[in-house]
Symmetry: C2
Subunit: 230 residues, 2 copies
């Protein structure tokens, strides 16, 4: 491990399963990660655990842990938001002034309280659209990484069995996020404007339903875009 990677991404809510899995995958891809948590000591401890997990890998990137605010400040550009939906708007409101000049990558899915097989979409249409409204047009919001299983992200013996549908109103910002995702070895697709998040976010509870179903012979399902059969 060393610290000489200029490319540094923040993951806010980085001590949860999704955040930890993304941190591992990004670090393995050579991208340094700063975990942000309400509890900076927990963020630092989680970062040490993740570094230990990667001890036997040829990993050239670093993982550190800070407060949400300091992690946001430390990001070069991309700040990934990975908090439970219940804390989404309050977290963003607090971080908004620090996000000026950066890009928010919103991966939050508005699962129905007590029912992960359903969503309750916010009034704006989707979480991605809510975030864009809340932050204003000067801070680009990109919706991405909603459908990939946290278990898969954390199981480094497996590839990522899920293409990533990326949406948002700023094409350049989407391209930067797609480039980051493709470093993790999976395919990213431009799924259109922020309103496409109404579909993409709502795919997650459908996958969760399939994972729970006794009629489907596997769990941790992903979704892939397929070319025509030959």
């Amino acid at each position: 491990m060393n610290n000489d990677v200029s490319n540094k991404v923040a993951i806010i809510g980085g001590t949860g399963p999704q955040g930890k899995g993304l941190a591992l995958r990004l670090a393995l891809a050579g991208v340094s990660v700063v975990l942000g948590s309400r509890d900076p000591a927990k963020a630092a401890e989680t970062a040490q655990q993740l570094i230990a997990t990667l001890a036997e890998q040829d990993c050239k990137a670093d993982i550190t842990g800070l407060s949400m605010e300091d992690a946001t400040k430390a990001a070069d550009d991309l700040v990934i938001l990975s908090v439970p939906y219940s804390g989404h708007d309050a977290t963003l409101t607090a971080l908004a002034p620090l996000l000026v000049g950066k890009t928010l990558v919103d991966i939050v899915v508005p699962l129905a309280p007590g029912n992960p097989k359903a969503v309750v979409m916010p009034a704006a249409g989707s979480v991605t659209e809510s975030a864009q409204l809340l932050l204003g047009d000067d801070i680009p919001v990109v919706g991405a990484l909603h459908n990939v299983s946290a278990v898969t992200l954390n199981d480094l013996s497996r590839g990522i069995n899920c293409d990533i549908l990326v949406c948002g109103n700023d094409l350049d910002a989407k391209k930067r996020v797609m480039a980051l995702i493709e470093k993790m070895g999976t395919q990213a697709y431009n799924a259109g404007l922020a309103e496409s998040a109404r579909c993409v976010e709502a795919l997650t509870p459908i996958l969760i339903r399939l994972n729970i179903s006794k009629d489907v012979p596997f769990s941790h399902a992903g979704v892939r875009i397929c070319p025509p059969d030959h």
Copy 2:
């Protein structure tokens, strides 16, 4: 060809590309099809063309063409609705009395007028939910087959590169539709209640966007549910 197949499905709007492709695939799977059109002569002519297309195949099912009303009456159970969204509600209102005791399979996607890369969802949330509201709870509505390319369906040299996400509030009806779909050689998944159609219908313009994009190296994209990588 012969007429001794008891299992008979109607396709309303069956002279369009999606309807014709489904008719071919179903007939090849041994399911007889009645195309329904506002113009019964056109329906009969289309049926003859499809039979000619299948002339060299070992096809044991029949394809016929009738008015929308007579095709609905002729169906044993499943009536597939495949009309442009602009005609969806009026068609269903006209056919509603004939659908008592049958199951509606709604495959209509509410593409935005003039922009196939977007949807304008109806007030009920989705077309499937609109149809269920319109028909009342005694006639089950199943949403399905929204994402499969008409070009793919009509190209019998190819398999169907798209899993089918099936949604609706009546589990038995969904199971009958899933069994029909699997006869065509593709996988059907129970994607949950009718409200899941908000996601599934909105996937179609995302696929259309990818088909049009110069950045995606193929057209006629499908979507598949993937087990974990090994």
